[in-house]
């Protein structure tokens, strides 16, 4: 016998959550994305990676972007960071259009991207020195940020001496040191093991609570998106379009126990429906395994059930 839990719908919000979203929407807009499209020319013709993307994030909001592979979520964040330019549409940060990469938008990459030849301290100082701060000021600031991510003992270590989680904390400190208007994170915990990932999520929530920062976070992990986000931007693939902007009904502040709360599971169910809809075409497209029984009839374990 299997029990299927009766879940509320993800649209149900209790009063505290409702009130919080009302206040959140009153906040000034941090990032505005208007009619953003991106097409690539390939030998096979024109590929539309993103089509008419529109959304806003408010100040100090935590937005997760999620979608199936090929939905262009990486392209989106790279455009926001200025590493790629859109085919049409524009990106406004605090009302001003952005062109090209700049220190007003911090970025954390999945692959750490710490400068291997610089110590932890020098890595964090990099952006500060680029924006013209004196060496003394940069060093003092860097120490504070490193302290904030709990790596004071490692200020003079080189990146190769750190674990993956520690490297990513340095990368976050390095991005935050520039005091950007928005922190863009491209699957930052994707390369970490499950345990470290959960720890890093908690660190990130702590940082977000205590620092004036708006976060746009890309992930393919549904739990991670629900656990972290105020709102989740769900994209669909081919072409990459906004499917839904979900207001996460799980109350803030978050804690790991909420992973099994009804609101959490209801949201997860909705995300599953959006991202992994039952594909009827799979069989016809040949996307299935040709499974035949290869266990002898008289095998000592006749059936695994």
């Amino acid at each position: 016998m299997t029990h299927i839990l009766e879940l509320p719908t993800y649209l149900d919000q209790d009063d505290a959550v409702k009130d919080r979203f009302a206040r959140l929407k009153q906040r000034p807009i941090a990032l505005e994305v208007k009619d953003l499209s991106k097409t690539f020319e390939t030998t096979g013709g024109t590929v539309t990676a993103l089509k008419d993307i529109n959304f806003n994030t408010h100040k100090r909001e935590f937005v997760c972007v999620i979608g199936p592979s090929g939905c262009g979520k990486s392209t989106l964040i790279r455009i926001l960071a200025g590493l790629e330019s859109p085919t049409s549409g524009e990106v406004l940060l605090d009302g001003k259009a952005v062109h090209g990469p700049g220190p007003d938008r911090g970025m954390v990459f999945q692959g750490y991207t710490l400068f291997p030849w610089l110590t932890v301290k020098r890595n964090v100082m990099f952006g500060l020195l680029q924006s013209g701060h004196s060496r003394e000021h940069a060093e003092e600031d860097a120490r504070q940020w490193i302290d904030l991510v709990g790596l004071t003992k490692f200020v003079d270590s080189y990146p190769h001496q750190l674990s993956g989680g520690m490297k990513q904390r340095v990368a976050i400190a390095r991005a935050l040191a520039n005091q950007p208007g928005i922190l863009l994170m491209d699957e930052p915990f994707g390369a970490l093991d499950a345990q470290t990932r959960i720890k890093m999520q908690t660190y990130l929530m702590d940082i977000w609570k205590n620092i004036d920062i708006t976060i746009l976070f890309i992930t393919h992990d549904l739990d991670e998106a629900i656990y972290l986000a105020d709102r989740i931007l769900v994209l669909k693939a081919h072409p990459g379009e906004v499917q839904e902007l979900i207001e996460v009904p799980v109350p803030q502040p978050r804690s790991p126990e909420q992973l099994l709360s009804p609101e959490f599971l209801a949201t997860k169910k909705r995300l599953e429906e959006l991202i992994h809809p039952p594909q009827e075409g799979d069989e016809i497209n040949g996307d299935h395994m040709n499974m035949v029984r290869m266990v002898p009839v008289d095998h000592e374990v006749e059936s695994v059930f």
Binding site: A81, G82, L83, G100, P101, G102, P103, R105, G106, M107, F109, G111, T113, F115, P116, W117, L118, F126, G127, Q130, S131, Y158, P159, H160, R174, A175, N178, L184
Partner: protein
């Protein structure tokens, strides 16, 4: 040797136990020496000549002369038939293959033997001359080649501007410029340095630009999102980022520079270690020739080992600083 040991020694892309590694490294040098010793000291291995110890009745044999074994046998039979005194001798290798101990002695005597003519140089002077030619050729080449390579690897503009011509030029063998270099630069050191420069420079630009292009592009992107401008990308990311690989490239290229030395030193007035080798070969002092050739190898290997050890100190962030 049991199966376990064999598996240890021949497991794909795995290090052997430290003891075996050390032993095999020693064997790497010992085996060639052993082969050489066998050929030199075991009379029935090779030894196609006979060194005459007593000419006997053969008119044209002299003591210490090397003759082919067939000739010696023929003359012996002839003398036997006519009942005269038989020549005596012992099996020997050709003059161009001295025995190991002769070369070891030559290592010392080559340095202490006065040159035959007043104007000629001692071995250490010849060596010093060669090292200077290599140094200046390689230094000047790197002075221009490394910056050009980095620019070509960083900016498409410079890549298009330099690389097509360099790709063409590097197929021209450096020695063909010998006559030209002498005509322009005279017969002394300058044309030799020029040949080493030509031999190194064009490869250098291409190798350095390739190394530069291999820098992880996400480091450049990260730097851009941290506010680095174009100049800072080059000076604060590209250059420090490629330094360890660049250093390794230069180590390899320095080895190539030595191969051009021999050609370079034959151009104009022959000089340096090459002059010494050709001169000694002319006097049939092949033990000295071997000693001089080995000295080149020893200088090359020692330089490389020192540079490799230095790289660990210069680049502390490199996990495997020793590199290739």
């Amino acid at each position: 040797m049991n199966t376990r040991t064999v598996t240890n020694l021949f497991s794909v892309r795995r290090q052997m136990p430290a003891k075996s590694r050390f032993f095999v490294t020693i064997m790497s040098f010992l085996l060639p020496v052993l082969l050489w010793s066998l050929i030199s000291y075991v009379p029935w291995l090779w030894h196609p000549k006979v060194e005459i110890s007593d000419p006997g009745a053969v008119a044209y044999f002299k003591q210490g002369m090397l003759v082919d074994t067939e000739l010696f046998d023929k003359e012996t039979l002839k003398q036997e038939a006519s009942g005269k005194a038989l020549p005596e001798g012992r099996p020997a290798n050709p003059i161009y293959l001295p025995a190991p101990h002769e070369v070891v002695v030559a290592f010392y005597t080559a340095f202490t033997t006065e040159p035959k003519r007043r104007s000629e140089k001692w071995l250490h002077e010849s060596l010093w001359q060669s090292i200077q030619v290599i140094f200046w050729g390689f230094f000047l080449s790197s002075l221009v080649g490394v910056p050009l390579g980095i620019l070509a690897g960083t900016y498409d503009f410079f890549s298009r501007l330099f690389e097509p011509f360099i790709e063409f030029f590097r197929y021209l063998p450096a020695p063909v410029f010998g006559a030209l270099a002498v005509a322009i630069l005279g017969i002394h050191e300058a044309p030799k340095i020029a040949i080493i420069f030509i031999g190194t420079f064009f490869q250098q630009v291409l190798i350095v630009s390739n190394t530069t292009r291999k820098l992880d592009p996400s480091l450049l992107e990260a730097a851009q999102t941290l506010g680095a401008n174009n100049k800072a990308l080059l000076l604060k990311v590209v250059i420090p980022g490629i330094l360890p690989d660049l250093y390794r490239d230069l180590r390899i290229l320095l080895g190539w520079a030595w191969t051009y030395l021999i050609v370079a030193e034959l151009i104009g007035a022959s000089s340096g270690i090459t002059w010494f080798i050709t001169q000694q070969a002319r006097y049939k002092n092949f033990d000295n020739v071997f000693a001089a050739i080995m000295i080149i190898g020893i200088i090359g290997l020692t330089t490389d080992l020192i540079l490799a050890a230095l790289s660990k100190r210069i680049f502390p962030w490199q996990r495997n600083a020793a590199g290739a």
